[in-house]
């Protein structure tokens, strides 16, 4: 929402503050002002000049030398210009030597304007510059009479042609003005109108609000003789008002109206269009004008469209409608898309003689949905969507008719059509000062509260502690709404700062969050940095990961209105994001990268979704560079132990994960439950993601881990061993395909209770061993709780172990 200072001052004439003061105060009273532009900030020494003589430039074909009168005494200066559109006798804006303009002639703005100095152009002296509209900081579109590419000829505009030579152009064009830009919140429908905004201004600065005086209009004819109106859907059209204007004389609107419109970015067209736009801005009520001669049967019918109906709006675009859309029709055909845009078939043309003015109220939601379906977004629609006050419609209509008469744009026919079966009545809110103060934590007197209410045109019934809310304030419904009005005008900054006084509460994070923090801290201690990636994924990533057609991971939740295919499904695995991150690092030549992410994956319980999916928190780890599978394995073991799963993890190589190296991957089992998986990334996947180095992945399903933690016994002190341990090392040889797990479990099984630890300290393949064999060396630690072990005892166990291994074709290395 924009307003110009001058337009606001039309309704708050006593306002006397600087632009900065205005912006600050409005922001603090609740109308957030995001910035302003002072039109005259960079305009200096610009006067009305008259071109007395034009001669060719001696040395340049495209330049001319002008003698320009710059004051009433006829003082002349010489100005060289390249503008093609100047003629002797024209009055033009002239910036004198030492003056400033806002921008270049092509509109290129400069922060502090452009200083104009006398100088020579191709050897001929020039003492200033004639200006285009752009150089004055304005938009040519807002000055329909301005040349598209050239000097603004003041004498071509009837409003400026008599301006005295030497007079201030900035004053003449009304550019001693400021344009403010606001963020108006959606609840303040009333503030999307100048008069509504002015009411806030008046209340903020405690000044009187002077709304336009609307006089009775119309001749002694009756509107009923021209038109009849029938509304078939009052739910979507609570009010419809119409009046008729005849003997239309189209002409440009007067200067003041053009400048008001252009100040808020609306291009002046002609008196009729400008009046409807002006009233829309002033009252916040969109209006529409139909050429009455195109309306069949002199009848307006408001009804829903037919399904599949085709309709051409006045911008020439054909739309296909459905039965939810509200149409304005005549006796035979549709003539307007209600609240959005009129039809091409009934639009005002230069030949218009009689017209129908419409000011109606339509259901905001319906207008919004229709606009959305048709892909349309008009100014009128934007206003209707917010839900307009029907009591405003007739006021706006009468204001428009008054302007028609004032501007001599036509003859207003007497009477008005008004279908408004259910009148919207003001509501009443009970209040007490105590309740409002209790909500705000303040001690504001009731008198002050009443003062704030009345400033806003709310009526207060002091005796019964009631506030009567006018219908234009649809946002005021309950006591809390009144409390905000009090707070706004008392000043948010004056409300004290206290802390809640109630009973103390125990704060803290949940167990789940504590586990996540612990996992993150362990990961960073091993050199992994935390990354974050989007929860969205492209379905293409499943192919990049070589997932089987029937892979469960392909069952992802699909977003119905995604930002694009790349973000169109909710990820079932964060591996795609991790590999993308590793790839980015690889391509930026970052060495030895280790990353992890803690984030949810989204597993649907069924598709399409009818309930919330299973959101599983997973720790996804990835690395390349220094380290290998066992580095990653060590880290994962530490995380699993570190979060409290102290028992044994089992690595099972039957994991069969498509995107991992088939010979270098494992599921990590804890108490027979898969809690994680780990592996080297499949070379094809590396290629698909553009990673040119071996990379490793591990994913811990923290949701499973946390479930397992619930069954975990509490940690208890077991005492420190009193008797010495006996250590024996053995080195065994076996086929390469035998897993170390097989060896260690066999040893443990036979070692019994006194075997306290089995530690692998060497793995060997190569010279000295048969082809296809490997050797593993273990250190076995025996200890009894109640005695010092004897050698015989341990030897006996060692024999058992060696025999058991031998049965599995695992032999002592010779």
């Amino acid at each position: 929402m924009n307003t110009s200072f001058s337009w606001i001052k039309d309704y708050v004439p006593d306002l006397d503050v600087s632009a900065q003061e205005y912006m600050d105060a409005m922001t603090l009273s609740g109308t957030k002002c995001e910035g302003y532009k002072e039109y005259d900030k960079n305009l200096d020494k610009i006067v009305v000049g008259k071109i007395n003589k034009i001669e060719k430039h001696p040395d340049a074909d495209k330049l001319v030398v002008c003698q320009v009168a710059i004051d009433e005494n006829g003082t002349e200066v010489q100005i060289v210009t390249g503008a093609p559109n100047v003629n002797e006798g024209d009055k033009v804006p002239v910036v004198l030597d030492g003056g400033r303009v806002d921008a270049t002639h092509s509109g290129g703005a400069a922060e502090n304007g452009i200083k104009i100095k006398k100088g020579k152009l191709r050897g001929v002296e020039s003492f200033g510059m004639m200006c285009s509209i752009e150089e004055l900081g304005q938009d040519t579109n807002m000055y329909p009479d301005a040349a598209k590419d050239g000097i603004y000829i003041l004498s071509d505009n009837p409003n400026y042609k008599d301006a005295p030579i030497g007079s201030d152009v900035v004053e003449l064009l009304g550019l001693h003005d400021v344009m403010f830009d606001y963020e108006v919140t959606s609840n303040r429908v009333d503030c999307f109108a100048m008069t509504g905004m002015a009411r806030e201004v008046a209340a903020t600065f405690d000044k009187e609000l002077k709304l336009p005086e609307v006089k009775e209009t119309g001749n002694d004819e009756k509107v009923e003789d021209y038109i009849s109106v029938e509304i078939k859907n009052h739910d979507l059209c609570p009010r419809y008002t119409a009046r008729v204007v005849k003997d239309i004389k189209l002409a440009p609107s007067p200067e003041w109206m053009q400048r008001r419109l252009s100040s808020v970015g609306i291009r002046p067209i002609n008196n009729l269009v400008d009046i409807t736009n002006f009233v829309m801005e002033e009252y916040g009520q969109p209006m529409h004008a139909y050429d009455l001669d195109t309306i069949a049967g002199k009848k307006i019918i408001v009804k829903n469209a037919e399904k599949g109906e085709k309709f051409v709006t006045l911008d020439g675009i054909e739309h296909e409608l459905d039965e939810t859309m509200l149409m304005i029709c005549d006796a035979e055909k549709s003539i307007g898309l209600a609240g959005i845009m009129g039809g091409e078939n009934s639009m005002i043309t230069d030949d218009v003689k009689t017209m129908l003015f419409e000011a109606a109220t339509f259901d905001g939601t319906n207008i919004r949905l229709t606009g959305k379906k048709l892909g349309m977004r008009t100014d009128a629609q934007a206003k209707f969507e917010k839900g307009l006050d029907p009591n405003n419609a007739m006021a706006a209509m009468n204001r428009a008719c008054q302007l028609v008469e004032e501007l001599g744009a036509g003859t207003v026919v007497g009477g008005a059509f008004d279908d408004y079966p259910v009148k919207k009545e003001p509501i009443t809110i009970d209040y007490t000062a105590e309740k409002i103060n209790a909500l705000l934590g303040t001690d504001i007197s009731e008198d002050d509260m009443i003062k704030y209410f009345e400033k806003l045109d709310l009526t207060v019934d002091r005796e019964n502690h009631k506030v009567i809310i006018p219908t234009f304030r649809q946002d005021l419904l309950r006591l809390c709404d009144l409390a905000e009005e009090v707070a706004r005008f008392y000043g948010y900054d004056k409300i004290p700062m206290t802390l809640p006084k109630g009973a103390a509460t125990a704060g803290g994070v949940s167990h789940k969050m504590r586990i996540e923090m612990k996992a993150a801290d362990i990961m960073t201690s091993f050199g992994f940095s935390e990354g974050m990636t989007f929860s969205f994924e492209s379905p293409k990533v499943y192919d990049k990961l070589l997932l089987r057609e029937d892979s469960k991971l392909r069952n992802s939740i699909v977003i119905s209105n995604p930002l694009g295919e790349d973000y169109s499904v909710m990820r079932t695995s964060a591996v795609g994001g991790m590999l993308t991150s590793l790839s980015l690092n690889y391509n930026k030549r970052n060495k030895d990268v280790r990353l992890f992410e803690l984030a949810n994956v989204y597993i649907p319980k069924q598709l399409p979704l009818t309930e919330r999916p299973d959101e599983r928190m997973q720790l996804t780890c990835g690395m390349y560079g220094k380290g290998d599978f066992y580095t990653m394995k060590g880290v994962i073991d530490e995380v699993i132990k570190g979060i409290g799963l102290n028992g044994e993890t089992v690595y099972s190589s039957d994991s069969n994960i498509e995107y991992l190296h088939p010979g270098r991957q494992a599921n990590v089992l804890y108490k027979d439950k898969a809690v994680a998986y780990i592996g080297e990334v499949h070379p094809t996947v590396l290629k698909n993601f553009g990673i040119g180095d071996r990379a490793y992945l591990a994913v811990i399903d923290l949701k499973t881990a946390i479930e397992l933690l619930e069954e975990e016994d509490a940690v208890r002190y077991e005492g420190i061993a009193k008797f010495p341990a006996v250590t024996r090392d053995i080195s065994v040889v076996m086929d390469k395909t035998v897993e170390a797990y097989e060896v260690s479990t066999t040893i443990k099984k036979k070692g019994g209770k006194i075997l306290k630890a089995v530690e692998l300290f060497d793995v060997y393949e190569g010279a000295g061993l048969e082809e296809g064999k490997k050797s593993l060396a273990y250190s076995l630690k025996f200890r009894a709780e109640d005695r010092t072990l004897k050698d015989d005892e341990v030897n006996e166990l060692m024999d058992k172990i060696i025999n058991a291994l031998a049965e599995k074709d695992i032999h002592i290395r010779k």
Partner: protein, 337 residues
């Protein structure tokens, strides 16, 4: 034999000795079983019984003297050896340490942990809620009914007509209020989703931290006071806060809070675009209809709520100029935190 002579000779030899081995030799030569002193002692039998004790005492004194001298010299040798060894072992202490370099937490996590600490200290529990959510929890229960234009403002991602990606962590408020355990002090951090194209200041996924307090007698002043504590703890004790009226469907009165620019202290700089203030969060007194919908009597209880963008704080705090960096995971970026 003149035993004094023996001493003299021994001391001389000790003095001239060049190492521990030589000392050992000297020790054997004088004090050993076949040593000089032992020989002298053996010759004692030739003396008269009167002379023997005196001579014996004398020999012992000399033995002691030699032993002392030997020890003394031994110590000197040991010290010299140690000194030499230490000198030899001098290392270049400026060479880099041998450790696994620590990884780094994401700036969002660092910020979040700080924020959580502040509120936990004030008795807030930290709770989480679902990211894929029913429309009811994200909108309707927060006073944003079906077809309300405010729904459009938030550019929601929908899965089905009723299920969406939450656009705000405010949805967690509703879950907590429904539990009916009052008084309630909570914050809820988490991912939210809005259909904004990725650029330097927008991301379709980002994080919010929602805060909610419900108790008897909670006021707008309490909201202001609490958020002032938050701002000062997070950005420094000199931080000032400013509350501006605003509108949210689920709070009334509502406000936006600005904090004085922590770069320039409020004077205005490039960082705060010359304004001296930085908009940091939205907040307000919980709308009575929101309480009612979750089964809380607004006549008995009131509350306040606030919502702050985690990325927004991270970007400001660490002076990161492009939001995309937070989701690219470039190691050179992450290592800086």
């Amino acid at each position: 034999m003149d035993i004094e002579k023996i001493l003299e000779e021994a001391v001389k030899q000790i003095k001239e000795s060049d190492g521990a081995e030589k000392l050992n030799e000297i020790k054997v030569n004088y004090l050993g079983k076949k040593g000089e002193l032992t020989k002298v002692l053996k010759s004692m039998k030739d003396l008269s019984p009167e002379e023997r004790p005196k001579f014996g005492q004398k020999v012992n004194e000399i033995r002691k003297s030699i032993e002392e001298k030997l020890d003394e010299k031994k110590k000197a040798f040991d010290e010299a050896i140690l000194k030499e060894k230490l000198a030899r072992e001098t290392i270049d202490v400026t060479l880099p340490g041998k450790v696994v370099k620590q990884g780094h937490l994401h700036p969002n996590t660092l910020t979040l942990r700080e924020v959580e600490d502040i509120f936990i200290g004030m008795g807030y529990k930290v709770v989480e809620g679902p990211e894929v959510e029913f429309d009811y929890y994200n909108f309707e229960a927060l006073n944003i009914p079906a077809d309300h234009p405010a729904k459009d403002e938030q550019d929601t991602f929908y899965i089905t007509k009723d299920i969406l990606l939450r656009t705000q962590t405010s949805s967690v408020q509703v879950h907590e209020m429904e539990k009916g355990e009052l008084p309630l002090r909570m914050i809820s951090p988490g991912r939210v989703f809005r259909s904004d194209e990725v650029d330097a200041t927008h991301s379709p996924t980002f994080h919010q931290i929602e805060g909610l307090v419900i108790d008897k007698g909670i006021t707008f002043a309490d909201l202001k006071g609490t958020l002032q504590v938050f701002a000062k703890r997070l950005f420094g004790e000199d931080t000032k806060v400013k509350f501006r009226p605003h509108h949210f469907q689920f709070t009334e009165p509502s406000a936006e809070m600005d904090v004085s620019c922590f770069k320039c202290g409020g004077k205005g700089c490039r960082f705060c675009k010359g304004e001296g203030w930085i908009e940091i969060l939205g907040c307000g007194v919980v709308h009575p209809h929101v309480l009612e919908m979750s089964g809380i009597d607004p006549e008995e209880y009131t509350g306040f709520a606030f919502g702050v963008g985690l990325e927004r704080i991270s970007l400001f705090k660490y002076e990161i100029d492009d939001m995309r960096l937070l989701y690219e995971n470039d190691d050179r970026f992450l290592k800086q935190f």
